[in-house]
Each structure stands twice: as structure tokens, then as C-alpha cells.
Symmetry: C2
């Protein structure tokens, strides 16, 4: 590769005298310099190199200079103060990195990175401090194991991706930018946008619509789509309508990078596995197997919010907080040399929730905005959040006082954690006194939340870091581990709150609880999320007094519904209409073009014409298979 | 091919007893049955077969039964009455056809086809009567020669195309229809639309923009475009902004059918050759050579107006008169089984001209309309045609009376012939008495017009067929054959009218005349067409009093402009705004969606919003590289 040779030469010229450079490689979007004396590169020198070369620079010690692992381990334990609470030390000979997992990674880093620097100097390995999750996550453990076991392949993948990103392109004719909508346009589900320029093709999200068999997968028969030509896939967040087809892409031959935040990587792995498990149980076809979920993990290039990365010869990507769910991102794309900027919001919450900060609305530059429209319709104004919380607690208290059990069917990732925070506060303030049981994948999703406190709201971070009080660790929460646990909770007479998946009573533990709790009027069910037409949740919500249920021996019996049935709106992870309009008003700089996606047809059209009228912007509500040239 | 085998079986079952079928082949969109006794298939039987098989059926005599050509020629001359004026008889052993060119093909056909049937019976060859053009056309002669010489290859091409059209397709998922705009959207020039369905890709027009170097060719870098996947190209008419890149497609590997009318085939061949000649003289690059113009001719499947043809497994095409230029067509496309219908107008004249009938506005079904917008702007109302003709003749008379020469720079195809008819009438009625000289390609284009009287207006056909008076043959017209002729016309003192190309004085004979006639105030120049910014025509029109001209020895000299300078609007081959709106009002059935193309940005936008407001239709003014899903 000529590009790399040229860069090598420039690096040698611009490196401090005495630098013993052994190798220079593209690894993913980064340019890695392997050197015998890495300490010679100060942060200032690295910054200057990055600026001159316009690349993300990583300095790594050449393998020949690394201290023997057992010895190095001892050294680390000597240098790092015991208070840090080191829980694991993992060496990666391939990258020259050593992962130091601890309860307080801040102490591994030290003031202004001093401790880290001392470790580096002593052992030559590049130390990577990570937080030991206060609740151990099976998912994270499995991901780490995969990446460690298959590190050779991962390295090869990164180098291949790196060469592709930095390939030379001869620009002929106009530089144009267009977006094809392969899914999630005038509909919700199977979000998938194909971004095209003369030299690049990028997929923004790659979802499935589980509820709609005929339109389950994105419209990959669009003639402009071909897996071989894809440069990158960007996943805005972990919900299946944004990433449920991603492993399928790998099954059909995709072999390139997946850009997303670390929490998104972990949560989407959890949800993809769950999707696979449920589909296999129900005998439904899934376009991938667990093998491809692993492929996915190996191809993820995790990005933190605010870090700008080359993803193709002419496109730079930056992820920003979207406020929707842990790790959810707005993808900001910068094209060419200051030529054009486009942001795709994914799902958006432009309001502080308990869990997350509101979505970012300031960008360095912005010409076009693609925005979700879930609640973009005229009537889509949601109740005030504080009111919703009060109402929820009121119902909880009422039924606990009656000696009943309160079932809250929830979606495991996002809404469950929001409700946990509300309930924890209520319990903590003595408003009610009963255990909150967590059933289904909620526990594991919560474990992942605790691993990434830096992605949580300021309020949460303050609690966790300054007050040492992580609400997720409260003893009000009790994990339901198996059917025996579940049986016990149902049978004993103690009042309690139960958070259980699935959120629409379409299966899973929530259905099991419902069948057993429904006949007793002391109990209650509280719906906090959208109940789709045709689901059992919708029927109960609409006031059916009896529900036919198929029993284990295949007979149908009728269950009377005597429990209290409540719906509390206002916990949505989406912006309502007011917030969406406020986002368009506030977003800086104000874009010329605004494209409405991710909403039912009427909502996209309504939101589009409203913004056009209010702000005199060029707005679009494309259909699936439309393609808009933005530049 | 299984499809063909199945059809063969069905044909054998449904043929009259005693039919000696030798072979059945797809040849282009037709299903050809080779048979030893073709006379056994009456027209009724053929119609019934076509209906049952839903194919265009052609019965041909098997080569083994054909009469020896010399003998057959004698037979034909015996059977056909001498009055028919046979000028040529050409046998095509490959198709079993004999082309009988005559002055009165009606007499070769005979009453209710009796004479034709008698010939067929006698010689077994299938007789194809064609009209001997009253003015011989070099272009038509060359095209016939090519098709005859390369008949083996042409047959092979037709069979290949036939197999592709009738291939079996397994329909998975939705049937969608979308159109990508590769050129001629919010602009004029390089018209090119890529129609896509799950099983088919078709190009509608394939033009160049000669005036705009950076946007000269259609945007073939659109990712959904690939030459290998193209099923068909449809050319609406012969002007270069609609067909100027077509030979280029063949250079880059296209090998499929081109659907257009016969006059379009012949006129576009003339114009493509002219484009090539001029570009070669000026040393400008052209994306093809004369070889590819011939390839084009060999791949044309000519269609008459109103004949419906399969062009792919799920699309049927019908061409209808567009009123713009000889052979110009509206392409009506029918998708699937009564599923959806789309019409693309190409360039449109919705008003009777002297030459042509107004555009067709009635279709069996119509859901979407793609319409040109050249004069779609608010101010684009053109003067009345009759007024324009009066004004033109007034100027002609005035300057002839002064003893001057009147130069009318014109585009060779279309407008030149319109003006010829106006001038012929004026001359015929004694309004003026002076010769009208035709220079440049006008003569040849006129020759092609005389070969297809059935494509002309009712009025013209009445004149030609019933009154035996073909205005193009009037002795007022005199052909300028060479530079000597031209010199003589310039030098002698007789008043005259000169129609000469190019239409904007950018080169060719019109420029030569202009340089010589400009200084004399007795003379006049009349602009009848649009003069683009930057052309000499525009400068003269704007009133420049002196024009610098580069002489043959490379020096620049100044020429004074003393001649009368006039502009007469109203001869356009396009509908003006009023006519466009009237077309949208009148078109039946009224389509749901209307897409505006082929106009400057402001005209497309203006026309689109006007139609949206007036008719409450979904309207679009797409950009180049946009793609709209219509179904």
C-alpha cells in the first residue's frame, strides 16, 4: 500500500530523534506505530503527529520490549494503590495491551494519568484500565472471552478494515451524497438507511420488524445495495429494530466494520441472542445463528461519544449521545473536505430522563438532519414525567396496601432500568416497602448498565462516583433466577412489585405472572409502554374481562381478569411531538434539509409538514425504497 | 428454455390440423412460428393464438418452401398492378420476408390485403410492403443495407432478446416500482431515467447535454445502474438530449434491445452521426464511434404507435404519439397483471402543429405520469401559432421586396420541417415569390419525414394521399449540396429564403451565411428557436452591432451587423405552460402521482407546485440522482 509507505516516511521524519520504529500499520481507523521505546512519544508529540497526518495515532510498544507477563502483573500490583480494587489483569500480546479491570479505574489512571504512565514505563505494555462492573455481566464476560480467544483474527480484521478506510480514491466528476431508505421510512421497525457517495457505501442501522412478517427485513433487493460494496455499518443503538438484522449481514458475506458505542455493542449482543433464543423456541426462522452474533462482535470498532473517526476515504463519523437508551447515538457524518454534514438521530430523547442526559443538539456543522418521528403526529403529546412517576407510585402503594402483587410488563433494555430508578427512589424514601423482583433479561441488561456509568446522566454519575450510591445495587431489587423462584413469588402471600419481560405479554415470564395474578383483585398490572394491536397486552389494556389461555396440556381455559388494570404513559425513551419540534428549533447549526423517518406514515407526513411550515425548511417524508440526494 | 418448450406444445395443440410446424422461436418480443404451410393460419387463427398465449405471434414460411428469389421476383411483378410503382424488391432468406418497396404500397397490399395474400400464396415468402420515399434518404438506405448485410447477427440478437424477455422469474416479496433520475431532472439535456422493479431494469432515454461539459452525460455512477442488468432501453425521440449517449451504452457493453418508432430510429441515426462528425471536426471527445451507431441500429426493435409489447417478464410497453417531432413517443408502461401503469411523456406538444397531431392523452390505465416541464414556468406562455406564422411571412415579404436574403438558422429535425410547411403555403398562395434554400442536414431529415407519412398530421396525410400533393416536394425548395452552391446563393443578387443549421449560429452553414449576409441591411435574420447564453445567436439577438469573427487565416476581424434582426416565437415543439396544464387536466385516467422533469430547476418546481395546488395531486420535482418509488 502506497498510502501506508508515504505515511511511514512522514512518521519517521516527524518522530523525535532516537525513536526506534519497528512497524506502522492501519488497524481499523487508527494508525498504529510499533516502537521499541514508546516513552519517547509524549502526548504532545502524538497530538502533533495526529494533526499533521490527519489520522488517529496510537503508539504501541514493539512486542520485543514487553516485560514477561507474570513479572509485569506483579509490577502493576506494586504500582497501583490497593484502593483501586483490581479484579483482573489480562495481557494481549497482539496489541501489546494489558487490560486492568478494577473497581476504581480512576486510581489505575492516577492524577493526570501519572499512575498509568508509571505502569507503561515499568512494563512497556500499554495499560488499558477498565471498570469492574459492580454486577457481573455474562454478556460482557463472553464478549471479552471471544475477543481474547480470537485476537489473531480480530487483528487481521482490523488491518484489513484499516487498509480499506485509507485506500486512495481518484475523484472523478461531482461529489454527491444520497440516502436510500431500505426500512423504517413511513414505518417503525427494520430501520436501515443506505448512504452513498461516489466512493463509499455505508449502512446506517440494520434492524428487523419482528411484528410484521411481510416487512420483517430491510429491502435489500434495492439495486443500489450490495453487501460486497459496503464500507461500514453504523448502529445507533441496541434495540432490534435498529440492529436485529446485523448478524444476518455477516451471514450473507459482510466482512467490514461495525461502528457503535461499547454499551451498544454489549446490549445488542444480549438482544440478538435473546431474539435467536425466542425464535428457536417458537420454531420461527431467524436470518442468522450465534456464530454470526460472534462475527458481529469481532467486527465492532467501538467509539466513544465525541471521537471523530475516518470510516472511508471521504467520510468521518462522530457519535453523540441520543438520550434514548444506554449508549444510543446520533451519527454525525462529515463528507469530504468541509463539504457537507449530515446527522442521523436514530431514536431520540430530547429531555432529561433519570438514566440519561438529553440528546446532543450542537454540532460543528450541519446541512442535513434525518430525524425520528415516532411521536411526530399532531396528538402525540405525552404526559409530564413527574406526573407519570407519581401516578405509578400511587398505584403501587394502593395495591401493596391491599396485600397485592403489582406486575409491570416491560421491555428489558431501557424502560426497565428507568422504572427501577423510580421504584428505588420510592422505596428509599419509604413510600412503599416491598421487594421489586426482576425477571427475564432485565437483570443482565442492568448489569451492562452498571459497567458503563460514564454513559449515564450527570445525576446518576454524581450518585455513583461522589456519593458511592449506585441505585441499581439497592437491596430492594431481587433477581428471579429460575422457575422455582418464580413459583415462590407467585405462591407466597407477600406483596411485591414484579418487573418482567416481555413488555406486551406476548410470551416470557410476564405472561406467566399474568396468568397467575389476573384473577385476584388485590393484584395490579401496569402498562408503561406501547401495546401493539393484536397482542394480549392490548386486549387486557382495552378492558377484556376474560382471556382464553392455552394450558400446558393443550386445552384452552378461560382466565377471569379481576386485577387492577392501569396504563401509565410518560416513560417513553422517545421524544414526544413537543420535544421533537423543540429539537428542530434548538439544533445548531440549523440544517437546510430535514428528513423524517421512523414513524407511522401519518406521523412522518404530519411532522414533515409541520416543520416545513414552522421553520421554512426543505422537509421530506420518504417511503421505503425512495432515495434522496442530499448534496 | 422450458418456457419455449411449453409454448411449442401449446401451439401444436391449438394449431389447425395439418399445420406443418418446423420451428418455434422467440425473436425480440415476438413468438415466431416457422411452418411449411403458412397459408393454413388465417388471421383469425393467429389472433386467437395471440390471445391464448398472450404473445405477439408471427407465422413465417419455413425456408425449405420458399420460391427461388429470381422466380419469385417475376411472380411479384406479375401480381402487383403496375400503378403501384415498385422501386425495389429485397429478399431476406433469414426471416423469409421480401421487402417490396413501391410508390403506392396500398396497391401492393390490395383491398383488404388480397394482393398481399396472393403474393404470399404464390411465392411463400412473407411480403412486406414499404413506401419508396419520394425523396431518397441516404440514412434509410444505409440502415437497410446494414440490417441486410448483418442479418445473421441481427437474428441472433433478436433470439437472445426474446429469450431474455420471456425468461421465468420467481417473484419473492413485494412488487415495487421505482425511478432513478440519471439526467434531465431540474435541468434540460442528458435525459435519462432508470426504471427498476424487482425483476427488471429499463432505461428511459439516454441523452447528452452538449452545451454543458461537466454535466454532459447521464449520472451512470448511480449505484443502482449497471449496464449488464439492463433489460431494455426506450428512446422517446431522436433529439440528442434524449438519445445522444445511446451508442455509448453499446461501447460500454450494452447488448440488449432499443425500443422506439422507425422514424426515431432513422432520425436518431442521422443526428448521432452528425454529432460524431462535428465533434471529430472540433476535436472534442465523443463516447462512441460510427461502429456503435451501427450496433444501435441492429438492436432497435421498432414499434408502431399503439402496439403493446412485452419488454420484460413483468412489463409491457406501448408507444403513443407525443406531437413533438416525427416519431416522438410517450412511453406507456404496464406493470405486472393489471397492477400499475406509468407514462413518461418525453418531450410533448399538446397542440396541433402543421406536421403532427397533438400528443395522445387517453390511456387504458394510468397511475403515475412523468411529464416534461421545458415551459413549465409561470411566465412561459408562448404566442399564438397563427400570429407567429403571419409575423414570419411579413418579415420574409418585407425583405424580399427590398431584394434581400432572409436567413433562418434552424435545428435540422422538426422545426425546419415546420417552417418549410409555412413557407410552402406562403409561396403556394403567392404571398412571396423566391426560392427557399435548404442547407445542412435539413434535406436529409426531410427525406426521412417523407418516408413516414403515416406519422404526420391528418391534414398532411390528406394532402399527400388524397390530394397527391406532398408539400415537401414543392419546387420552392432547393437543396444546397456543397460549398459551390452556397457561394452562388450568397453571391448572386436574387432575393431568397435560407433555412440552415446550426440553429444558434454556433457553426455549420448558418454561420457561413451569417458572416456574408450580416453587413447588408436589405438582408434579415430570423430567430425561431431558443438561443442559449454564450452563443453567437444570443449575441446577435441581443442587438450587438458588430461581431468579431475568426477568418480562415486565423486572424480576427470585425463584421458589422446591418441586416434586420428578428425573433419570432411560437414555433416550439414543446407545450407551453398553458398546454402543459391543459394536458394534466385532460389526461385520462387522471394519475395519482405526477413527476416533473426536463426543465430548468425553477420551471420544474413551479410546474410541480402549480399542479399540486390546482389538481391536489402528489407531485414531485426530483433532482438528478434522486430515486422515487412510485409503487
Amino acid at each position: 500500500m502506497e498510502v501506508l509507505e508515504r505515511l511511514k516516511e512522514e512518521i519517521i521524519n516527524k518522530s523525535p530523534k532516537g525513536a526506534k520504529i519497528i512497524d506502522v500499520q492501519f488497524e481499523g481507523p487508527e494508525l498504529v506505530i510499533y516502537v521499541k521505546n514508546p516513552e519517547i512519544y509524549t502526548n504532545d508529540i502524538i497530538k502533533q503527529l495526529a494533526k499533521d497526518l490527519r489520522k488517529r495515532i496510537v503508539i504501541r510498544p514493539d512486542p520485543s520490549v514487553l516485560m514477561e507477563p507474570e513479572l509485569a502483573k506483579k509490577k502493576i500490583l506494586e504500582i497501583v494503590p490497593e484502593d483501586a480494587g483490581i479484579t483482573d489483569i489480562i495481557f494481549d500480546a497482539n496489541t501489546g495491551e494489558v487490560i486492568i479491570e478494577s473497581k476504581k479505574p480512576g486510581l489505575v489512571i492516577g492524577k493526570e494519568g501519572k499512575t498509568l504512565e508509571a505502569i507503561k514505563k515499568a512494563i512497556r505494555w500499554a495499560p488499558k484500565p477498565v471498570r469492574a462492573p459492580p454486577i457481573p455481566s455474562e454478556t460482557i464476560k463472553a464478549i471479552r472471552a471471544t475477543l481474547f480467544r480470537e485476537r489473531d483474527e480480530v487483528k487481521e480484521i482490523l488491518r484489513r478494515i484499516g487498509r480499506r478506510i485509507h485506500r486512495e480514491v481518484i475523484q472523478k466528476g461531482d461529489y454527491w451524497i444520497r440516502v436510500s431508505f431500505l426500512g423504517g421510512a413511513r414505518e417503525v421497525g427494520r430501520s436501515c438507511l443506505l448512504l452513498q457517495t461516489p466512493d463509499t457505501k455505508v449502512l446506517l442501522d440494520c434492524g428487523v420488524n419482528i411484528a410484521y412478517e411481510e416487512k420483517m427485513y430491510p429491502q435489500f433487493d434495492a439495486p443500489e445495495f450490495s453487501i460486497e460494496d459496503l464500507d461500514a455499518v453504523i448502529i445507533t443503538h441496541a434495540h432490534l429494530d435498529h440492529c436485529g438484522f446485523l448478524p444476518g449481514l455477516f451471514r450473507y458475506g459482510y466482512d467490514g466494520p461495525v461502528y457503535c458505542t461499547r454499551p451498544t455493542r454489549d446490549l445488542m449482543t444480549l438482544l440478538q441472542k435473546d431474539y435467536l433464543d425466542i425464535a428457536e423456541k417458537e420454531g420461527k426462522p431467524v436470518p442468522f445463528s450465534s456464530k454470526e452474533i460472534k462475527e458481529c462482535v469481532k467486527h465492532v470498532i467501538p467509539l466513544d461519544y465525541g471521537v471523530t473517526t475516518d470510516i472511508s476515504p471521504s467520510i468521518k463519523l462522530t457519535l453523540h449521545n441520543a438520550g434514548h437508551v444506554l449508549g444510543s447515538a446520533i451519527a454525525h457524518l462529515h463528507f469530504g473536505e468541509g463539504l457537507y454534514n449530515l446527522a442521523y438521530t436514530g431514536d431520540l430523547k430530547f429531555d432529561t430522563s433519570r438514566l440519561l442526559e438529553p440528546a446532543v443538539c450542537q454540532f460543528p456543522r450541519l446541512e442535513a438532519l434525518i430525524i425520528e418521528s415516532t411521536y411526530g403526529g399532531y396528538d402525540d403529546v405525552l404526559p409530564d414525567r413527574a406526573e407519570a412517576e407519581k401516578e405509578l407510585l400511587r398505584i403501587v402503594i394502593e395495591h401493596i396496601e391491599k396485600g397485592g402483587k403489582i406486575l409491570i410488563p416491560v421491555f428489558g433494555v431501557g424502560r426497565a432500568q428507568e422504572l427501577m430508578l423510580v421504584l428505588e427512589e420510592g422505596y428509599n424514601q419509604g413510600i412503599f416497602n416491598a421487594p421489586v423482583y426482576l425477571d427475564g433479561m432485565i437483570w443482565e441488561a442492568t448489569a451492562i448498565h452498571t459497567a458503563y456509568p460514564e454513559y449515564l446522566s450527570k445525576d446518576m454519575r454524581r450518585k455513583i462516583f461522589q456519593e458511592g450510591d449506585n441505585p441499581f445495587l439497592s437491596d430492594v431489587f431481587q433477581r428471579v433466577r429460575n422457575t422455582n423462584d418464580r413459583r415462590r413469588i407467585i405462591d407466597d402471600s407477600e406483596p411485591c412489585v414484579i418487573l418482567a419481560t416481555s413488555g406486551m405479554l406476548t410470551g416470557g415470564p410476564s405472561l406467566e405472572y399474568f396468568k397467575n395474578l389476573a384473577p385476584d383483585e388485590k393484584n395490579a398490572i401496569i402498562f408503561v409502554g406501547y401495546q401493539a394491536e393484536g397482542t394480549l397486552g392490548r386486549k387486557v389494556q382495552k378492558g377484556w374481562k376474560e382471556i382464553p389461555i392455552v394450558t400446558k396440556n393443550g386445552k384452552t381455559k378461560s382466565i377471569p381478569i379481576n386485577m387492577g388494570v392501569y396504563t401509565v404513559e410518560g416513560f417513553s425513551g422517545h421524544s414526544d411531538r413537543k420535544q421533537l419540534i423543540r429539537y428542530v428549533r434548538k439544533v445548531k447549526p440549523s440544517p437546510e434539509k430535514i428528513i423524517m423517518v421512523h414513524g407511522e406514515e401519518s406521523k412522518c407526513l404530519d411532522f414533515s409538514s409541520t416543520v416545513n411550515r414552522l421553520f421554512k425548511k426543505e422537509t421530506y417524508a420518504p417511503r421505503v425504497l425512495d432515495c434522496i440526494r442530499v448534496k
